[in-house]
């Protein structure tokens, strides 16, 4: 597959993580790094279901529920035991490593001669285009559902929970329950990324999630920079920026590789790239007003 089409497809696969991190970090204001574990969990459950020849309408809900459970657990630890969210996420992520390994029974499940969402429909004769189109439809559907959710009364209450907790409690919302629901939703979306990427690359691996949280963070930070830049208040445009963030992120990595950078250095490139985006607003401000 062409490098940039591949980057585009990967970006779409990973947009679930971006949406998940957007919900946990931007909407709930909670730094959740259950992500590394719930992404692998999504992939592992998908591989397991495909090997067992389960159809997509069975495997998809199971993946969503698995991710949601992981997120809800982090939420429970954070709200009921009053443990710092970051630590709660690390605890669940660490525990999930064993869960994933136990589920797989070994460290890697290759998917050979199994069906996938990409063999479900034949929209285009070219299999690569077919993969891209199916992903596009799938991601569009997920985004529509999340966008609708955020516009509902429940969604407004979700957004208010991360924004002004005293206010939303006075307006009758149990903020603990709301945070647990939010983290469940965020990690269900992350597991969906695991679902897509496992079928795209044709295997699940115990280490596939290591450091994946940075992909979500990077995408959301790109989106946030754009959102602040254009003073966006619309939910829909914000979500579109998050999706674009996920795709831009993969393009930058693809471009770096095409320059002939050693793939071993990819993580450091990723880290430096995210650092650059985060510091860009400050750096440009200090260039304008040197003091």
């Amino acid at each position: 597959m062409d490098l940039y089409l591949s980057a585009l497809v990967q970006g779409l696969c990973l947009s679930g993580i971006a949406l998940g991190i957007f919900i946990s970090m931007k909407i709930f204001n909670i730094p959740d790094i259950t992500t590394d574990g719930s992404y692998t969990l999504g992939g592992v459950v998908t591989a397991k279901m495909l090997v067992l020849h389960q159809p997509v309408f069975v495997s998809l809900p199971v993946v969503i529920v698995a991710g949601a459970l992981a997120g809800a657990l982090t939420g429970l630890i954070h709200t009921k035991l009053k443990i710092n969210a970051l630590l709660a996420g690390i605890l669940v992520m660490t525990a999930l490593y064993s869960v994933n390994l136990t589920l797989m029974g070994r460290s890697n499940i290759p998917l050979i001669n199994t069906s996938s969402i990409f063999t479900l429909l034949n929209i285009s004769a070219d299999p690569n285009h077919n993969t891209f189109l199916i992903l596009l439809v799938f991601v569009a559907l997920v985004t529509l559902i999340i966008g609708y959710l955020l516009k509902t009364d429940f969604g407004i209450a979700m957004r208010a929970t991360g924004n002004s907790e005293t206010m939303i409690r006075a307006l009758g919302v149990n903020t603990d329950r709301m945070k647990i629901t939010g983290l469940a939703l965020a990690n269900a979306l992350t597991a969906l990324s695991g679902f897509m990427i496992t079928q795209f690359q044709g295997f699940a691996d115990i280490n596939m999630g290591i450091g994946i949280v940075i992909v979500g963070l990077g995408s959301v930070i790109i989106a946030e920079t754009l959102i602040n830049w254009f003073r966006i208040t619309s939910v829909w445009i914000s979500l579109l920026f998050v999706l674009s963030g996920a795709i831009v992120f993969q393009f930058v990595l693809a471009f770096t590789l095409s320059l002939g950078v050693n793939p071993n250095l990819l993580k450091i490139v990723t880290a430096v790239f995210v650092l650059l985006i985060v510091s860009l607003p400050r750096l440009s401000a200090s260039f304008k007003n040197p003091s």
Binding site: D153, R159, M167
Partner: protein, 249 residues
């Protein structure tokens, strides 16, 4: 409407920094009563308000609202009766959400927040009409984030939000403490009008003795976690503003 019986509140019990914030308070507040609570810092007036609101739960004693025992209910379970305005204008509204979104949440304060879209043209018109009664020209800015407004505008909107849904009790925790005198005046007049128009039972905690003198039909002075003075409508009407200053002399 509100009955506070033998309530005690101890913070950090048994530790070196133990604080006996409320020491046996008995207060009954009748329907449509507008109670003003004054007292020095640390007298327990805000603690008492928070006990009624449910942000903190009493160490002992009981609290009833509208005949219901709410002693052990969390704040979000008391929103059925209570609307609140906070000292910090940032606490009563969500700054990143639009004015419209804030009002939508307020309009369903006593109801579940469901999976349907509640903001439609009818609701937008309702919010615009309500906001135009303030005469601040904010009715054309309902799509703007709440955070773009001044503290006074936000406090006035918080007051309006409190009567978007059925409301019996309005708790005002130093609502004008962070405002300039002019905004403070607008906010207090709006509060007084809403309390009268909607027949609300209200509690106002304030450090501003002028406000305490002008508004309300009952006044309580608190000191060291106890009720020091309690004056009903008749006594309060004979009270002079200077008498209030003497209380703190």
């Amino acid at each position: 409407m509100i009955s506070v019986q033998k309530v005690h509140k101890v913070f950090n019990k048994g530790k070196a920094n133990q604080v006996d914030a409320i020491q046996g308070v008995d207060v009954g507040i009748g329907e449509k009563e507008f109670l003003v609570i004054v007292g020095s810092n640390g007298s327990g007036k805000t603690t008492l308000l928070n006990l009624v609101a449910g942000s903190i739960l009493p160490t002992s004693g009981s609290i009833h609202i509208d005949g219901n025992d709410v002693t052990k209910l969390a704040d979000y379970n008391r929103s059925e009766w209570i609307a609140r305005v906070f000292q910090n204008p940032l606490s009563g509204t969500a700054p990143d959400l639009s004015i419209l979104d804030n009002f939508r949440l307020a309009a369903i304060r006593t109801k579940p927040k469901g999976l349907s879209i509640g903001i439609n043209d009818g609701f937008k018109k309702l919010v615009k009409d309500k906001i135009s009664t303030l005469g601040m020209g904010l009715e054309n800015k309902i799509e703007q984030p709440m955070g773009t407004l001044s503290g006074g505008q936000r406090q006035a909107l918080t007051l309006l939000m409190s009567v978007m849904d059925t409301c019996k009790v309005l708790l005002l925790d130093e609502p004008t403490a962070a405002l300039d005198p002019k905004s403070a005046d607008v906010v207090m007049k709006t509060a007084d009008k809403l309390i009268t128009d909607f027949g609300l039972t209200a509690i106002l905690v304030t450090h501003n003795l002028k406000e305490a003198y002008i508004y309300g039909n009952r006044i309580i002075q608190m000191a060291e976690g106890k009720v020091l003075r309690d004056m009903d409508k008749e006594k309060k009407s004979t009270l002079k503003q200077n008498d209030l200053y003497d209380w703190f002399g």
